[in-house]
């Protein structure tokens, strides 16, 4: 394993320090290094619903990269691939509260859900209104009694952008939460891994794939997905991902969608664009209009090779909010 790190235990601390230094015009770190979080420069916006997200580190730019105008008010980076504890989530929640309440955007992983729930209880005890949306866009997992439910993956970025715009226009907490829920309900994702990632403190591959094998339906921590299949061409792989997504979303033609191809960290943009091209072509052939797009590394899994395909079924409200301005380290859009 070769990594550009010092002590494996200092990876998150040092990465966040560098991130904050690089983007000091937009963000700042919370005051207590033991309760690490990143917030908008200038702090909570009075009268605006605060948006707080977070989870294990290793998915950069998620989540700290999306702190700023039009998106998150604060983000809590846990240890690599490990959810943060309630303390820093509570600290971030307080820092994000402008008096209109706070929305927690939580990916559906057992640890994230338990720690955010605990933090919300603590915030409630301090008279801060907290609502939560649990993101579960990953169709690779059957949502049934026999699993922990579908995982939250790249669709989280779309929720953060669109709910962020809702909060920015001063919608109240119930409305922002409803918008976030609506985006989640209309978003589906599925990923593929060509090669595993290496967690810094473990120092070895998180799983083994043979040279000619890929894993379809991989999670963003390298959790296994639906099946292992022999390596195939980009078009074949794209079709498998897209078909799973569109089938689950129930697209039949005539819909307007946002198509999002997300890199897992170690796949070149050129390959992501090959996947995007194929997916867009397939959607067009099915009569689905791709009216908005996003391609790049937004929800990564350290140095995993692979990508995920996400489709968001847009409507006029969601399109308007997607187009609203944002100014964050990892996503900027202007009107």
């Amino acid at each position: 394993m070769k990594k550009l790190i010092n002590d494996p235990h200092d990876v998150v601390k040092e990465a966040v320090a560098g991130f904050v230094a690089a983007h000091s015009d937009l963000v700042a770190a919370g005051p207590d290094p033991e309760e690490l979080f990143v917030h908008r420069r200038g702090g909570a916006v009075p009268g605006k619903v605060g948006l707080v997200s977070g989870g294990g580190s290793g998915h950069e730019p998620l989540h700290v990269g999306f702190v700023g105008e039009g998106m998150l008010d604060a983000a809590v980076p846990g240890a690599v691939f490990t959810s943060p504890t309630p303390g820093p989530i509570l600290a971030a929640t307080k820092a994000a509260d402008g008096g209109a309440g706070v929305l927690h955007i939580v990916k559906n992983y057992t640890g994230d859900v338990l720690n955010f729930e605990t933090a919300a209880e603590l915030a409630d005890a301090e008279d801060i209104d907290v609502a939560a949306v649990i993101i579960n866009d990953d169709v690779a997992v059957q949502d049934s009694l026999y699993t922990a439910g579908r995982r939250g993956v790249a669709g989280t970025v779309l929720v953060e952008k669109i709910a962020g715009a809702s909060a920015e226009r001063r919608d109240d907490l119930a409305t922002v939460a409803a918008v976030a829920t609506k985006v989640n309900e209309r978003t589906r994702s599925m990923g593929v891994a060509l090669h595993a990632c290496t967690v810094p403190h473990a120092g070895e591959l998180s799983f083994e794939l043979a040279e000619d094998e890929i894993e379809i339906g991989i999670g963003i921590h390298g959790e296994p997905g639906r099946e292992r299949i022999p390596m195939a061409g980009a078009d074949d792989i794209t079709d498998r991902l897209l078909d799973a997504v569109t089938t689950d979303l129930g697209l039949s033609g005539g819909e307007e969608v946002l198509l999002f191809v997300n890199g897992m960290g170690a796949t070149p943009l050129s390959e992501l664009y090959i996947v995007y091209g194929r997916a867009a072509e397939r959607l067009a052939a099915a009569g689905v209009k791709v009216t908005r797009s996003l391609v790049g590394n937004y929800t990564t899994a350290l140095d995993m090779q692979g990508c995920s395909v996400t489709v968001l079924h847009l409507d006029e409200e969601l399109t308007t909010l997607w187009d609203a301005p944002a100014k964050t380290p990892a996503m900027r859009s202007e009107t």
Partner: protein, 219 residues
């Protein structure tokens, strides 16, 4: 009647042993977790119990219940993931039961040990919503609590109750191997989770074995 009871000295010895064990077994627990989860269970527990040990070294509480409360809050604030809230809640509830036994009997008697394990189990179930058979740490705690209750009712002393509980927890952890996971990250594997021991059940068995050893070694 002068049945041996386990007091605060035992609790501190147990938790210090937990810190040594999670440090020694860090890589083994990571390996178990890598097979069906994301490979950081040992890392997270080592971080949590090291923090607990440091706090006990600098200022150990004098009361059994208080010691467990310190353990619970420290684990919750340092471990993260699912293991932090789960173990935190288990120790919080176990501590409450231990505090009550302390008030009643001046420490843990045989019944107190069973009550501690039952309270910890109830905390895990409440927090994680898992049941026996879901391939989680509940499988180890459930077996331990059942064995402890049976041993206490048959007249064993607290050292023997812990020994029974520890052996049952180990068997409970081993029994997770063929199971198909229904909770936690391993559930994403479905059938492919069978054939691997659950890392949470295994760490639970290790921690409860440390409790039994501390009970045996505490004068």
């Amino acid at each position: 009647m002068s049945e041996k009871v386990l007091g605060n000295e035992w609790a501190v010895a147990w938790i210090q042993a937990c810190a040594r064990i999670t440090s020694d077994e860090r890589a083994a627990l990571n390996d178990l977790d890598r097979a069906i989860g994301d490979g950081d269970h040992g890392e997270n527990l080592d971080r949590g119990f090291s923090a607990v040990a440091a706090k006990l070294d600098s200022a150990a509480p004098a009361q059994l219940g208080e010691t467990f409360k310190l353990v619970a809050t420290t684990l919750m604030s340092t471990v993260g993931g699912a293991a932090g809230p789960l173990y935190g809640t288990a120790f919080l509830r176990a501590g409450k039961a231990a505090g009550e036994a302390d008030n009643r009997a001046g420490g843990l008697d045989a019944t107190g040990v069973a009550e501690l394990l039952e309270a910890g189990l109830a905390g895990l179930v409440a927090r994680g919503k898992a049941e026996p058979g879901d391939k989680t740490m509940v499988d180890a705690w459930d077996a331990a609590a059942t064995a402890a209750r049976a041993a206490a009712e048959s007249g064993s002393d607290p050292v023997a109750v812990w020994a029974e509980a520890s052996a049952a927890a180990e068997a409970g952890a081993r029994a997770t191997e063929p199971m198909v996971a229904r909770k936690g990250r391993a559930s994403y594997l479905g059938e492919r989770s069978a054939g691997h021991r659950d890392p949470g059940a295994q760490s639970s068995a290790m921690l409860l074995a440390a409790a039994a050893a501390a009970a045996r070694d505490t004068p």
